[in-house]
Symmetry: C2
Subunit: 296 residues, 2 copies
């Protein structure tokens, strides 16, 4: 199966799991349930859960074992998008080519739908922990829970600094710091969970963590490039607003060509970290290429 088909298969799998969660009555209030599902199923790429599942599959085929963590992560990612889009933060009307949550519903609903997604992620984790009877696996999962909470804290801090620094000049160090937190933390986490739950040894975990760190930076560089020269209809959200709002981005910092060069180098570094795994890591290599070449 080629990369596109495998990606699609994974996306369908994740979408079904997300849909199932809401159909099972976990959010019993009709409109709130609907608004959470609306954003969650609006057509995201599912990169984070797919990175987790694909990393897990380097070690073991039974990837359903990491599914609760994959689903919880995708919920948190969507919570962050809903809140970032709010009038009080980025004030965006479109996302994935559809109205943002507060446009489709209203601001109160969007605030509470975001809160609800964040909290439901932890509800899923608590259910999985309660059911874990294997003490060694429980210990691993408790560490994963800690990494999750830490990654989200870092994401919130990154988002905060990014918001506060609009229109200000910042140095390389701070630009990297923002994105290591804002975007990077939640992209590194799934690869680590896949590796840890799959039973990676220390060296393997270390290589995969480095792969994920590079992927995180590359993802943000590409986001900045798409905001500068992407096609709004394909990207599905407004482009050009980084420049308008004088946001400090990889493009404003290094120029469009400089940013592309940095993207290329970062993806190359990411793929280097997978050398040890050989052909088993083919999909993760292709994910890196996909992040470099995506047009949305």
């Amino acid at each position: 199966m080629d990369f596109k088909n495998r990606l699609k298969k994974y996306q369908d799998l994740v979408n079904n799991e997300l849909e199932r969660y809401f159909l099972e009555g976990n959010v019993p209030e009709k409109v709130l349930n609907e608004s959470m599902r609306y954003s969650l199923l609006a057509g995201g790429k599912r990169l984070r859960p797919i990175l987790m599942i694909a990393t897990y599959k380097l070690f073991d085929d039974n990837y359903m074992k990491c599914m609760p963590y994959a689903i919880a992560l995708e919920m948190v990612h969507n919570f962050s998008l809903i809140h970032d889009d709010l009038p009080g933060i980025d004030n965006d009307d479109f996302r994935h080519g559809k109205q943002t949550n507060h446009k489709k519903y209203n601001e109160a609903t969007a605030i509470l739908a975001g809160d609800g997604l964040l909290n439901n992620a932890y509800l899923i984790i608590s259910n999985d922990l309660k059911e874990e009877k294997n003490k060694d696996l429980l210990d691993l999962k408790l560490n994963i829970f800690g990494e999750f909470a830490n990654a989200i804290s870092r994401m919130i801090i990154g988002e905060y600094i990014d918001t506060e620094l609009e229109g200000k000049q910042i140095d390389d160090f701070l630009l990297e710091y923002i994105h290591t937190n804002k975007t990077g933390a939640l992209l590194k986490y799934p690869v680590r969970v896949g590796a840890i739950l799959g039973g990676a040894n220390e060296g393997e975990l270390d290589s995969l963590t480095k792969y994920a760190s590079n992927i995180g930076i590359a993802f943000q560089i590409k986001d900045d490039i798409l905001n500068e020269e992407g096609d709004e209809k394909i990207v599905g959200k407004p482009v050009g607003n980084d420049r308008e709002m004088q946001k400090c981005t990889y493009v404003s910092k290094y120029g469009i060509e400089g940013a592309k060069e940095k993207l290329y180098e970062t993806i190359k570094d990411a793929k280097m970290c997978l050398k040890y795994f050989g052909e088993r890591a083919e999909f993760l290599v292709e994910m890196a290429d996909y992040i470099e070449n995506r047009n949305k």
Copy 2:
């Protein structure tokens, strides 16, 4: 020591623990840290953590064992206040006699400070779970973590329904349903945690849960009464706005005298549930009276 002094002692204890958490560098971004502390230390009554500690003390003196859960709960309570006060929801300018978070800082900060408090609560719980070496106690704590996530989900749903129903007539059942979720869930939870961690037997846990359910309803009735006839300067937030916004409250439903009667009965029921504990439960009995008679 009389009730007022004991309450003050508990409040100081909780405030110190909250302050310590932020001084320890758990939120490394200066202004976000400050805004979270601002709301958290703006002068709340600390009813929830104190209910937990006082319940725990029915069974065991070493109440520091439940402190992480008490602190986490107070953070979540404050997250909910910050988000409820936002222009998109209640649009309140004052809380505890001070500017609300988005007034003192800005909307983006208030959204992210709320998100951060919710998430830090889970970070605290994950740290406590990781350190728990006693398998039986860990199992209890995993259940408590689950109850926490469920209580917060219920609070968010209650808040959502409350927001959406402004200006609409609702029946007794729905009024009770809203407040059992919106206010009740986070008031029941601490009493249950205190009892469970303290080692209550099934009957004791059951009695204390009923006490807490009554306390939760009484708290909301009193809130509605204070909004109708409280002194704005003492209450510390605007009064009269429930009537203005045509909110359905215990006062709009039963009239001011009917609401007071219902408050009296509910507090009486709450205290009845403590009979079994005799003098040991003196402080919890006084807490019930305090909730009935508070003027803020």
